[in-house]
Symmetry: D2
Subunit: 365 residues, 4 copies
Amino acid sequence: MSGSTFGTLFRVTNFGESHGPAIGCVIDGCPPGMELSEADIQPELDRRRPGTSRHVTQRNEADAVEILSGVYEGKTTGTPIALLIRNTDQRSKDYGNILQTFRPGHADYTYWHKYGIRDPRGGGRSSARLTAPTVAAGAVARKWLQQKFGTTFVGHMTQLGEIAVPFESLEHIPNNPFFAANATDIPRLEAYMDELRKAGDSCGARIDVAARNVPAGLGEPLYDRLDADIAHAMMGLNAVKGVEIGAGFASIAQRGTVHGDELSPEGFRSNNAGGVLGGISTGQDITVSIAIKPTSSIRSPRQSIDLQGQPATVETFGRHDPCVGIRATPIAEALLALVLMDHALRHRAQCGDVRVEPGPIPGQA
Amino acid sequence: MSGSTFGTLFRVTNFGESHGPAIGCVIDGCPPGMELSEADIQPELDRRRPGTSRHVTQRNEADAVEILSGVYEGKTTGTPIALLIRNTDQRSKDYGNILQTFRPGHADYTYWHKYGIRDPRGGGRSSARLTAPTVAAGAVARKWLQQKFGTTFVGHMTQLGEIAVPFESLEHIPNNPFFAANATDIPRLEAYMDELRKAGDSCGARIDVAARNVPAGLGEPLYDRLDADIAHAMMGLNAVKGVEIGAGFASIAQRGTVHGDELSPEGFRSNNAGGVLGGISTGQDITVSIAIKPTSSIRSPRQSIDLQGQPATVETFGRHDPCVGIRATPIAEALLALVLMDHALRHRAQCGDVRVEPGPIPGQA
Amino acid sequence: MSGSTFGTLFRVTNFGESHGPAIGCVIDGCPPGMELSEADIQPELDRRRPGTSRHVTQRNEADAVEILSGVYEGKTTGTPIALLIRNTDQRSKDYGNILQTFRPGHADYTYWHKYGIRDPRGGGRSSARLTAPTVAAGAVARKWLQQKFGTTFVGHMTQLGEIAVPFESLEHIPNNPFFAANATDIPRLEAYMDELRKAGDSCGARIDVAARNVPAGLGEPLYDRLDADIAHAMMGLNAVKGVEIGAGFASIAQRGTVHGDELSPEGFRSNNAGGVLGGISTGQDITVSIAIKPTSSIRSPRQSIDLQGQPATVETFGRHDPCVGIRATPIAEALLALVLMDHALRHRAQCGDVRVEPGPIPGQA
Amino acid sequence: MSGSTFGTLFRVTNFGESHGPAIGCVIDGCPPGMELSEADIQPELDRRRPGTSRHVTQRNEADAVEILSGVYEGKTTGTPIALLIRNTDQRSKDYGNILQTFRPGHADYTYWHKYGIRDPRGGGRSSARLTAPTVAAGAVARKWLQQKFGTTFVGHMTQLGEIAVPFESLEHIPNNPFFAANATDIPRLEAYMDELRKAGDSCGARIDVAARNVPAGLGEPLYDRLDADIAHAMMGLNAVKGVEIGAGFASIAQRGTVHGDELSPEGFRSNNAGGVLGGISTGQDITVSIAIKPTSSIRSPRQSIDLQGQPATVETFGRHDPCVGIRATPIAEALLALVLMDHALRHRAQCGDVRVEPGPIPGQA
């Protein structure tokens, strides 16, 4: 059972390969009556787009999105919204050498084992290029959540390889190629990346992402808790190896007297929970942190095997991001938005519309 | 849309409250023809059972499981397997005080906000007691995976509060109350727990869990990657705040030349991937690590609010685990088994039976 | 992928075998805050119950339902509602002869082919006894729909074998063993059934079922139209071979000028549509008609084969309904209620709460 | 929860509006390694295509399909197959008048009630044009089923309005504009249609469709029986008001001694079951019959209301099929193929690959 649909009620079905004719997605379940055009989606795609600095892949894709359905006279109609992005800068010759060998750290080996066939052009289906439709769908979710609840999303890089990136201000994020909330350390990060690139190597990154103005009550225990679905979304993003909510791994060494967030009439006094208790949103910020592994496509020669199981040396040329984490921030924001959107609809299916205003809670039906 | 079903093809629907008449689950999709009786399930429930040492809740529950359906003359028939566990040691009077206040770190606040009604007896639906049916279903999955692929599961505690628990031998795990792969440090851990209990406080834990003899090819990109579904399962376990696969957060600071696991004709040379590449199993061990927060139910007084939003002090009496992580090991194993079971069925739906033997891979249909 | 769950948002997972320890279901997704007790469910089970007249099976089952979860202090909590019905009058010795042969018209042959194993006691999973949990879940749906929209359900038998049963009044339905809206013809129907029973034969039936006070707007094109889901529900009921909505097969010979229901300011002028246009409810009565085949379990000898494929003669003794259609009416009502309930929740997930009052329709979001 | 996805494991997500830029679908779950190109799909679209005779709409659409993904070097890769059909002959001016009124028998009223907004151009989402992607997806399913089991599909019209169309030979089907298995009566049918068109009226039709060489064992009780899912598919086709399997409504008046199909060592002796017993395929032909209502878009004036609820007279001009049943045959075949495809994958998920060869049945696991 193939898993190319994200979400249960706000459902995003993704299609495409890195070097096929097109990529895209179909969003089924978007509420009707919301104003929507390509102008709502394109800016998010542009944030994720390759070729925007020397620290990311030089593939040059406009990533222009076309809305094929689901919108009439500028408003969503409640029918599926199909989004199409034509691929325009495929250079498949760059990848010819990977047909006969398995690149370490890549999906080559597992796709081959699973399907008995794989599209090797640009990584085929396993390429991070397939996050573009996710970002496009996320833009639709963000708009609805913003209008309905005032929810906003903001992510930034907090570590690049060994270098921690201190928080200075959210305003810096759009002004550097790293999505860093920092201005002081940018030259150091750039030098670090330049050195890596020269060495034919790569590094990982940590991204923090948060949602603000999230209504309380989202999440569907026993199993589809909000944090569980966030973890599913984030761990499903290419190259992610770890996910934390709130205090995350630091909570192991915390005492109960410290970790449990106390309440006052003004609200919670801390947020170790990361905005989720018992799998349901508290109304606080949702805070998530993810670990992204170093890019597997590097120029340095690595040992591997070929299709016959014989030893082979692999060097990956072509255009690759030396740190895939750099472009991950808008994708992580989109994924968080998609999870919250799905849960907003799930909530109102069973319990009716989310109460935005706090206060005495009447019995429901 | 309520989320009490785990899995898509091997589907476990969980029901019950901590102090209601019974808890249990219905497993839909189990392959027919497998020998199954309560004797396959009860031992796993016994590992999770409360009251087995002074370091866990003193609630005394036999957790005796009854198979209500889906088995005929000792074999599964392919029809739903209903598992019933009667609650026998409820003492609801212990919990009367929590009706009017929200305990910090608890699901009280969010269930109230979500549903407008909550069953306060023993935490109701949010109680960790509801992991028992998950463990029972996991035992069924474990048996099938063991018979089909020889897959086994083993978890152990690797950190208790501030104390790292060094690995000594897997043989020690069943011989101490902590599921520690260690004999030397047990007295120190016991002293630590005794002190915590006296202080009316609690601590977190880290659990590592692994699956061995996992066939290559399990996982359903783009979104339902194996690692994504593992993260969903683990983050959905009560009190979990972080999940890592393979090198996890350490991979941030690794270089690509280090992280990407090289291959040789004999197999992979390392396992930073944790057995998953591109969201699909490699055939190596699946390795997962989870962070469990300190128990929220502690005797020490905490500040909170009541139903009217007024300040209130909360002290939680009753029978609680001072470290919920202690009993988490068999649950984490069960969850990992459920994910692999579901993906084994998903795989064969689309691609036919998993190839257990490696070797040249023919085209599929 | 086993199919024992009915519905997508109001999800009923059915379990059990005819002669196992128990049958039942888990309802996941019921809105919180509704008053509910066994007294809401038992009367519907009693309508379906065997042994109530000489024209149905003499199996004597109390079919007493127990609510195991999901209700606290008499109200639904939004968590799964598990319903348990213990089997109490199994006589498995009656069925020993069917182990080695396949009864014509029965599921013996197909269960054997599908699963390679089958529980032959009382038809096992394929027994119509498994409609009891469906009826129980339907009672929960009926209550919610009644309270929310005033929706009611009424079914009656309109044909018994070759005999058409003229409509006289709905008031007659509870006063005869056939669920006939008729008083005049009951003696004739009883004589017909007595004769059939003596002849060791069986007959079919037609059941009409309607829902009233259905809000407009329920149904989810493109594929999950309301009529499509009604057809799925009805054709999935044991022994059903045909389903009609509105004018049904008669619409083939109707002209467009006749069939298309005209509107006036007072509403629709006819209901050939059966309350569904474009797969969405119109607000008119939903009208459905189903064809039920004659019972396959009959005393008359039939030709068949045994497990080795050799010729065998089969005579079915034991306790069977000579017309399974007789008890189908409350089941068909329950199924229609479950479909509408599911669609009411599906509708509000995407579009917000159903507008009960007609009138000018504002844009939605 | 929007319902634009068909199937559970072979999942077809449909998008588009009659007069939008494009229509299409994404197929998720197709087994890898099957040869596939547009040439496998286009012939089925051509059978459904408008403008092929004077008895169907004169809209002139090439309906040229483009495969956007999921195929590499002529073979399916196991990743989603996106199919795109550009709309090329929209004439939206034809439909301007329906913006302010509700056409009797149409989805105008219900879409408006449900979504609060509708795309009126060509019927928008409710247009039968949206069956084209279903047919395209069906062609993929047909190819796989043909290769795997030798399964074939054949449908034909058996009644046009009041006129029964006697069966003569399947060879006639492609040689007349009605998909009739008949040569003798074609002139009479043509005259009947010409008369209807002149009268500004329309009529219904009955279509019979069958699948041959279906393996035994497909179908997922308790609820997702094969016949239930067939009924869902067929009743979900535009304008269908009734569905029968096997003997259908005629089984009401049959005796059990007649209806239940006897078995012999050579196989079943009759097929009143229509190839399904207990919701599972028997290996016999699956036989289905559907009732299609007369087209609602007719030139004759009808009474209705406008958006303000005031009386209005509606005459529908534009290009419409006077009998939508005429083009329904290839669609019904495609739907039956999609159901069987989905169930073939569902079966092997739980039970392993379908046994094609009959014979002694080993226990499964």
